[in-house]
Symmetry: C2
Subunit: 106 residues, 2 copies
């Protein structure tokens, strides 16, 4: 099971996700956006891939990384569900929303 908390627990990874918000990027472009080495970035990308938060497509010598919005959406929903259970009454309406899958899901 993909663990979104693992993916989110590192600030560099959170930054990478932000970078990928609007457009897919090659590994090189991502590397250039940070001050850390290419292998370090690669490891973060591997973790994001493992948790299925991003996907990659090969294009010649490039690797193009893309945000997996479906997974993020699912994570979003799960988190809401979890916290909804904890906070119950306070969140009744929101919870219902989530459970019904009301959130424009494909």
């Amino acid at each position: 099971m993909p663990d979104v908390y693992r993916a989110l627990s590192d600030s560099t990874r959170r930054e990478i996700m932000k970078l990928l918000k609007d457009k897919s990027l090659t590994q090189k472009e991502i590397v250039e956006a940070f001050d850390i080495s290419q292998p370090a970035i690669k490891k973060h990308l591997t973790i994001l891939l493992e948790e299925e938060i991003i996907t990659v497509t090969v294009q010649g010598k490039y690797r193009l990384y893309t945000l997996n919005r479906d997974m993020l959406q699912q994570a979003f929903r799960e988190m809401l569900h979890y916290i909804g259970d904890l906070l119950d009454d306070q969140l009744a309406s929101l919870k219902k929303y989530v459970e019904k899958g009301e959130m424009k899901d494909d």
Copy 2:
């Protein structure tokens, strides 16, 4: 670095929060709900305390742990806000909910 992601990133801690959903519990009661040692649980409780997700009151030889719903809510809102931003348009309605603090707040 106090980090909400840190507190929520461990499943044992998330289980502890669930346990505390309906009632405050002593450390002993919490320990008994898991298969890991008392010092291990203690460490989780310390982290949750550091992130102010729970509070503790001393009662004689007991420590009574209580969920800090306000902080928990804030923590989740932060994470959801982050993910929501990544998803943008796709989640417009739900996102608004979270951002407006519709989840019982301020």
